[in-house]
């Protein structure tokens, strides 16, 4: 823990006309508005009136529009680029290619700096940025970009494990020298993580049944609705002010500044309104491009992707092929698991190494298995780059191991839920990595809860006026009134880690200021946390109210003028930046009490002897006696602290055995899916998707349920509709639009009843457990299990398409 008191003031750039604003919220009346209450979002009113400034809404006098020219092929050398005609276009201010990059740093990346800012001599995937244009109108920029002549000479494409690691495989990256390159078996493998524990071969000999299966998980897109966008404003000091939607300001900053040749303090970043993220904003998109154009033209530059470009502008969830072998004894005890998970990382590393670590370490699910032999790898290919998406490696594994659990249960003639409960992990279970699960792990209880819930009535579509087709498979297409419709029920449960793992120094910073304004003690919370919709700003205010006893809390805009808050990902922000706010508030409280003791200590002995709290604007003893108003204690004084907060340290996984205390915390959710399938047309209607999840402590129950329902729906999407289709011959994306990449509508999404458990994790702030990702894991296999039960089909890939159900 350290304190930073030095602060830099922003240089005098002209502020944009429309910028992020502070959110001030009082609770009014008697509402205390602290943790555990469903307080309302401080940005809610701005969002329902249309006044909330998203990154695509920013505007600046005299601003230009940037546009990115992207490769039309997946793998090619660039023989030439001719920008002359584009540059001569009226209204165009700049055209930039690789040759215009200002410094020797021309690549960026989350962990491995392998991604070119602009293509250099070669493109490695369809849609790779090749050139940039700035013009006075977005259409002028687009048309000018179309006049840039790029001559490609096609190279053979690497598309799967066979073409990546087979004899004579073309290398996606020549001359690798990153820190994984030394231990991988082939240069087209980004990272490999084996986990070996016990003796799987010996255990297999004890098994009464052995089930093997091969599974395929399609490429899912985050499909956040707010497109990649931002505004870069050149400043008088030679730096740049960047307003952007991202998940981690300081990670962006670390990657942007060296490419621009600027010290980090001259790249001042402010978070703009973020229209969802789900992992897709962990990597850079337009950040460096916008800054380059702004610095080159001396004018503010706004870049907004359209949906087509957005599909190329961010990484996706890794598609995967998974091979599993499960063994069990006749009494339903798992003997061993062997598995191999191959993740397609695409052309650049992005978060692939960490996704591999997650997939491997969580590959057997929330079960007790002492003998395992696990391998996970991520490939370099010429497919679209893949990286972070909600669930991060654990999603693909859960789809496969839960299918396996159903198949083993069927082989044993056991109920699939009972079989899972027999093998369910609990507090004290040892993970395949050797890590002991040292907080509640209510896996069997979560399953019991979803199973105990009454089933939705059959034939709900029947009304007195005939069938309500909106409740049937095929919906308003009016394809059935119940004929050929069969119901199925399926269960699944999953395990997800919370926070950054494998020894990463994963800290968050919070600055908290307490002062008297208008006769009332108020607090200001300043962090760099990216509010992407999850409600972090809501809980920060709740934490400040609970810890400081104030009613009015201002959440300052997130920017890089305060220390890093880490990433809004890995289900970590309430734990980590919430933890940082709590931690700083506690230190502020101590300072306030010191002031109180100095001022009033001589008047009442309790100042020295009692446990003191800040409640409802007063200093009170733990016995409830009020000692002073906070406004009188503070008087003219201001308490202002900025502190870092860390979770307990983790360890890297051993590169040979996978052993190590790699994870911070685990979270668990279970689902029951009820589906109705039109078996003639292969159409699926999910009727209900019930979830039970342990959240440790629900800081804001309304938001917690919202997270669980949203995560569940993304899991439903990849079960029955969502997939980026990449041509296996050309490696080109076939469906970069919401016309062809379908996400669930309100008609596709069923009722999602949620059962929230609160079993405290003693290691975490308030006992809370990260919420966001776990529901995305088990929703998909639960839906698949239900469809299997309805149809009797094996269904070893997701998403399921109609032809998989009709066989034609």
């Amino acid at each position: 823990m350290s304190t930073h008191q030095t602060r830099t003031e922003p240089a005098a750039a002209v502020a944009p006309g429309r910028t992020p604003t502070s959110l001030t919220q009082g609770t009014g009346g008697l509402t205390k508005g602290g943790i555990g209450e469903s307080t309302l979002r401080p940005d809610g009113i701005l969002k329902v009136t249309g006044e909330f400034a998203y990154s695509s809404d920013l505007w600046h006098e005299d601003m230009l529009w940037g546009y990115t020219l992207r490769s039309t092929v997946a793998h090619a050398t660039i023989a030439s680029i001719d920008t002359s005609e584009a540059l001569a276009t009226s209204g165009v201010y700049a055209v930039l290619t690789y040759d215009d990059l200002p410094t020797e740093v021309k690549h960026y990346g989350l962990e491995i700096r392998d991604t070119p800012v602009l293509a250099h001599g070669k493109v490695r995937h369809h849609g790779e940025p090749v050139a940039l244009v700035a013009a006075d109108h977005p259409e002028t920029a687009r048309r000018a970009a179309a006049k840039i002549r790029v001559e490609y000479e096609d190279l053979p494409v690497v598309t799967d494990e066979a073409s990546a690691t087979g004899p004579g495989a073309v290398l996606v990256h020549e001359g690798r020298d990153d820190h994984h390159s030394g231990h991988v078996p082939h240069p087209n493998i980004v990272h490999r993580q084996p986990i070996v524990r016990g003796d799987a071969a010996a255990a297999a000999a004890r098994a009464d049944v052995v089930v093997t299966g091969d599974y395929v998980f399609g490429m899912q897109d985050q499909a956040f609705l707010g497109p990649e966008s931002g505004l870069a404003v050149p400043a008088e000091d030679g730096g740049v002010d960047l307003y952007v939607a991202t998940q981690w300001l300081h990670s962006d900053l670390r990657q942007i500044a060296p490419v621009l040749g600027l010290p980090e303090k001259k790249v001042r970043m402010t978070l703009s309104g973020v229209g969802g993220a789900f992992g897709g904003r962990e990597d850079l998109s337009m950040q460096i491009h916008g800054c380059l154009l702004a610095l080159r033209t001396g004018k503010p530059v706004k870049i907004v992707y359209n949906r087509f470009e957005s599909f190329f502008g961010h990484v996706h969830r890794h598609p995967a092929t998974l091979h599993y072998e499960h063994g069990a004894t006749r009494d339903g005890k798992l003997t061993h698991v062997r598995c191999r998970i191959v993740l397609d990382g695409g052309a650049y590393a992005s978060a692939s190494p960490a996704v591999v670590g997650n997939a491997a370490s969580l590959s057997i699910g929330p079960y007790v298995v002492e003998d395992v032999d696990i391998e996970a790898i991520a490939l370099y290919t010429n497919n679209p780059p893949c990286g972070a998406m909600r669930g991060f490696g654990a999603v693909q594994a859960c789809f496969a191991y839960e299918a396996q659990m159903d198949r083993v249960a069927a082989e044993l003639g056991m109920d699939p839920v009972e079989f899972r409960q027999i093998n369910a992990m609990e507090q004290g279970t040892v993970m395949p990595t050797g890590q002991v699960v040292d907080s509640p792990a209510p896996v069997a209880e979560l399953l019991r809860r979803v199973k105990a819930r009454p089933l939705p009535p059959e034939r709900q579509w029947e009304t007195t006026e005939g069938a309500d087709v909106r409740a049937l498979p095929g919906g308003l297409s009016n394809t059935t009134h119940g004929e050929g419709v069969v119901r199925g029920v399926g269960y699944a449960v999953g395990i997800k880690n919370v926070g950054f793992s494998e020894g990463f120094d994963d800290y968050s910073t919070a600055r908290v200021r307490m002062e008297v304004v208008g006769g009332e003690a108020v607090a200001t919370v300043h962090t760099a946390m990216a509010e992407v919709g999850q409600g972090g700003v809501t809980v920060h205010a709740q934490i400040a109210r609970s810890e400081l006893g104030v009613t009015q809390v201002t959440i300052a805009p997130a920017d890089t003028q305060v220390g890093s808050a880490g990433s809004t990902s890995a289900s970590r922000q309430t734990y980590m930046t919430g933890g940082a706010v709590k931690n700083t508030c506690e230190a502020v409280r101590e300072k306030v009490l010191d002031i109180g003791r100095r001022r009033f200590g001589t008047y009442h002995p309790a100042w020295a002897t009692a446990e003191l709290l800040l409640e409802n604007g007063r200093v009170v003893t733990d016995g409830g006696e009020a000692l002073a108003d906070l406004a009188d204690v503070l008087d003219g004084e201001v308490v202002d602290l900025e502190l870092e907060f860390r979770h307990r340290p983790t360890q890297a996984f051993d590169l040979r055995t996978g052993q190590g205390n790699g994870h911070v915390q685990y979270s668990f959710a279970a689902h029951r899916a009820v589906v109705e399938v039109d078996t003639e047309l292969g159409l699926v209607k999910v009727v209900e998707l019930a979830c039970a999840q342990d959240v440790g402590k629900a800081l804001n129950p309304l938001s917690v349920v919202g997270q669980i329902q949203g995560g569940t729906t993304q899991g439903l999407g990849v079960a029955v509709m969502e997939e980026i289709v990449v041509d296996p011959v050309t490696a080109k994306v076939r469906n970069p639009s919401f016309t062809d990449y379908l996400i669930p509508t309100i008609l596709d999404t069923p009722t999602i009843p949620v059962d929230v458990l609160e079993l405290a994790d003693a290691h975490a702030p308030y006992g809370l457990r990260g919420v966001g990702e776990a529901p995305t894991l088990s929703a998909t296999p639960a839906v698949l299990a239900a469809i299997r039960q309805a149809t009797g089909l094996e269904l070893n890939r997701t998403p399921v398409r109609p032809e998989h159900l009709t066989g034609s």
Partner: protein, 158 residues
Amino acid sequence: MRVTFTVNGREQAADDVWEGESLLYVLRERLGLPGSKNACEQGECGSCTVRLDGVPVCSCLVAAGQAEGRDVVTVEGLAGDDGTLSTVQQAFVDAGAVQCGFCTPGLLVAADELLERNPEPSDGDIREALSGNLCRCTGYEKILDAVRLAAARTGEAV
């Protein structure tokens, strides 16, 4: 070209409009009304929904010139002149129907039109009316709650 139309009750004119510009672009970039959102610009997501002579449309699919002389209502026009939230806006806030909020403006305009036409919608009616509006955060449950709440509050007020 110059385009003149009524937005949220006020006549507005935009100059230098290129013929290919959408109503969405003119609202957002020329008239200072960025509340209507640009999630897909392909008519698939509904985030740009506005009412054109009362009818909900994807403003990204309407050429700006088509709005000439017509009446447009955007999310910015839902609240009262004094800033009081409309029933449906308040219900979205209260029900927790807003997360990232990018789909919210389009959903509000669509839900407002639904409740005007059908003050007591069934769940099926709500789902059908909002099926052109994608949301990626909420799983729609709280949006259903919000529309039910708005309908109930409107019913009480009558």
